[in-house]
């Protein structure tokens, strides 16, 4: 309890600071009313030792004398208050209402100030400082010190009035990120084929979203499969699908794959997402990890073009591919954003928001005064209503499953899909 004396002595006397009751309360974790008393006591004891050592400002709350009222009511009893507060000082049109005044005064002016009051309901020390406070506006900085302490959590016990009914919207941030991650993962399968195949590129974004929605729910595998078909001649595509197939290849055959593409459950789906996720990683130019990976894939692609045999490629790739995958998982979302056709940042309440990439036409006047129309890529934010109902279970548990499903990636079913596709070919 006596620690406040030390604290105040250090801060006020030694460090020349202005300390308000709120700051003291927050720092020492005491109730604001106790802090006010501490300030008073410190002020009293210090000035008893050495007059003028510390200077206080007081917060006075009460009823002031009506300005026009004659000052004959010197004794300030209750009866006088009512009479003067109803004094006809205001024009007859408006009602006269009781007015209270909250006033911050320095101790030098306290006496004069109090004389203006009919009744003081409340008075306490607002702050103490080593020097007299001339301009109250300068106290702002002292008062704002409170903000620097994170008063959000602890403040509740210290403030005197609580409100049990306070409602906050539950933070969607966490769910958001998870949703975004999963959505992003799901988006990639679409974005990717679109990139590798020119025909795909012209596809309007609307279908993409629909498929994203589907992908999010469960029927994901179909779409990638079909686009794979179209983009089948893409080297990278092949390389990757093979890379993905690799673990499966050991014992799972193509036959297992076909059914799984129909009823792939959540896990295989996220498997796909992950795989594709990694597929799109070569694109981002940033990050050393990606660069090496890209080179690796380039190699791989060339290899694939030379050689039609899958086994070789897979074996070659087995060691390099597996490890970086694990490492690069965390940084993946960020660079991915630059490349995707769209980024879904929110999918809550069945409403999806995000940004999508579009080409904008822009007319500019060049230095010779000609109008030049250029096309430049840009981002456009969108938000739309259509959203898959099954998204919800996904969003709630998205983050953990996404991680959890990682080890299962090598699971037979998901791998089987792509495998089957290739074997059909």
């Amino acid at each position: 309890m006596e620690s406040y004396n030390k604290f105040l002595a250090e801060n006020v006397l030694t460090e020349d600071k202005v300390i308000t009751y709120r700051f003291l309360s927050r720092t020492l974790q005491v109730h604001v009313n106790t802090a006010k008393q501490m300030l008073y006591e410190f002020h009293r004891s210090q000035n008893a030792k050495r007059p003028g050592a510390v200077h206080a400002t007081y917060l006075v709350y009460g009823t002031k004398k009506a300005t026009s009222a004659p000052s004959e009511s010197q004794n300030g009893t209750d009866g006088d208050i009512e009479m003067t507060s109803s004094a006809p000082e205001v024009e007859s049109l408006a009602d006269v209402v009781p007015a209270s005044t909250l006033c911050l005064v320095s101790e030098e002016q306290l006496k004069d100030n109090l004389a203006d009051y009919e009744e003081v309901t409340s008075i306490h020390v607002y702050s103490i400082a080593p020097h007299p406070t001339k301009d109250m506006a300068l106290l702002v900085d002292a008062a704002n010190q409170v903000l620097s302490l994170n008063a959000s959590d602890e403040g509740k016990n210290l403030a005197s009035i609580t409100n049990p009914r306070v409602r906050r919207r539950e933070r969607q941030g966490v769910a958001l990120k998870a949703a975004a991650a999963s959505a992003a993962a799901a988006v990639k399968p679409q974005a990717k084929p679109a990139f590798s195949n020119v025909k795909e590129e012209s596809k309007p974004t609307q279908p993409v979203q629909e498929t994203v929605a589907k992908a999010l729910s469960s029927g994901l595998t179909k779409k990638p499969a079909s686009s794979l078909k179209r983009g089948g001649n893409s080297g990278i595509m092949q390389a990757f699908s093979k890379a993905a197939t690799k673990p499966t290849k050991v014992n799972k055959e193509a036959e297992a794959a076909t059914p799984s593409s129909e009823d792939s459950s959540l896990q295989p789906m996220s498997d796909d997402g992950e795989d594709d996720d990694e597929m799109s990683q070569p694109k981002p130019r940033a990050g050393p990890g990606f660069r090496t990976k890209r080179q690796r894939e380039e190699e791989l692609r060339q290899m694939m073009e030379e050689d039609d045999e899958e086994e070789e490629a897979q074996e070659k790739e087995e060691t390099p591919e597996e490890e970086p995958m694990e490492e690069e998982e965390p940084p993946a979302p960020e660079p991915v954003k630059e490349e995707e056709a769209e980024v879904v940042t929110t999918s809550a309440n069945g409403r999806r928001r995000g940004k999508r990439r579009i080409m904008r036409k822009k007319q500019i006047m060049d230095d010779q005064g000609y109008l030049v129309t250029i096309q430049e890529p840009g981002w456009e934010s969108f938000s739309e209503d259509e959203a898959p109902p099954p998204t919800k279970p996904k969003t709630t548990s998205a983050a953990p499953p996404a991680q959890a499903s990682k080890p299962k990636k090598a699971g037979p079913k998901g791998q089987g899909n792509i495998m089957s596709f290739f074997s059909k070919k």
Binding site: L114, V140, G155, N349
Partner: protein, 504 residues
Amino acid sequence: MVTLDEIAGTGLLQKPSDTPIESLERPGSDYKSLDTFALPNDRQYKQQFADIYFLRLTKIRPAVEEIATAAWQDTELGGETATKVDRVLDVRQGQLCWVVGTVYMDMPLKPSVLEDVSKDRWISAPTTSDHYYDGAGGESVMLEDDSGRVRLVGSVLKDYFLVTGCIIAVMGTENSNGEFEAIDLKFADLPPQPGRWSLSKPPQKPKVKNEDVEMTDSSRPQPSKKIAIVSGLEFSGTDTSYAMELNLLLEFLLGEALDPAAQSELSQISRLIIAGNSIAKPSEHDPATDKKVLKKYGYDSSSYNPLPSQLLDTFLSSLLPSMPITLLPGVQDPANVSYPQQPIHAAMFPNARTYTAAPPAPGQGQAAALEPGWLDAVTNPWEGEVEGWRVLGTGGQNLDDICRYVDSEDRLGMMEAMCRWRCSAPTAPDTLWSYPFQDDEPFVMKDCPHLYFVGCQPEFGTKVIESPQGQMVRLVLIPSFATTKEIVLIDTETLDVSKVKITA
């Protein structure tokens, strides 16, 4: 007169003691926000403004006619009985008659669209003059409806506030100049007033009732709740002259300042309503507004000062854990300019927005928001029900614009006139910029409020008006905090008003 000796050593002016401090709890706020003034999201601005006048006249005419009929039914003047004329153009010279129409004021300094067009000014600037009358008597008052327009003359016009857009009934005759000599005017008077708790259910308080019956004096009556209304906080990036007052206001509302007795009084404040102008106008000296030709792509911190909205956000998010807030936009706030202003977007408050209501799910539409947000950003004007009372509030533009028509400082009288006209923004869309409504005219007061407040006013004022049917409306002018440092507290049982002045 209070002397230092009297108060020394009492209350908080003593050594800290170990007495446990009881924690105070704020009462709940019964609150329902109406979306009377909400605009559709896909609104268009292609349509004409004439529909507003037509709708307003159609809506208010029956009430005016009823009152006029009652008053002038058998009025005889010089052996002639007053007759009702349906259209302004049907007025015959020399015939004593009465007619209902919309007032149009032609004033020398009033901005005019036709003038703008004729001078080839296509971008109209906000009005700069603080009044439209010129003092030389250049004004003329017209009465118009969809058929035509007639000029009103007569000394009786001086006895009433008249502005463009209000609906009146006039009795008189047309003189040889084609002017209508008005003998008497009638307004619609106060609209029907819903009872208290018409939209929400009163809180169940069986306990209090029992105690009242059985042991009246043993239980102290529950102190009635209060709502605080403030306007013109004007958080500024450059002007810090009232920053300390703002701080004290926050501490006052939070109940951190003052002593336990005062704190328990303050804990009865169940809601804060901010009636406009939370953010200051950028000053001329603000470096942010200096025209620098230096062009920079994207966010330029030298041309934009985010401090005001940050300060507002800090203020709101500090206060919200303790108190729900209703936030009306004002003329300076980051909302649309034209009436009705739509809610300030939650993106302005990165910290406080977690207290706002969740955006409506797409399938449910706007009406489906079950409960209003703890921080409720609403329209201006705004209509709602607080503690069972119907409340109508505005950010002040409607009243400020009426003041430009009338050479008077009686703002309460103008507020009263608005209620009696049954129109909360009569001068829209003539001089008060407004959305071109087509299907509905929300400024017509369908229901009479119990409490009508107008924010951002030069000084405080309040009075109660009554209608012949016994309806009572509490009118309150909310002063701008930045200039007066005053906030208004309203008792939710009696609608009594008190104010608190904060000085530093």
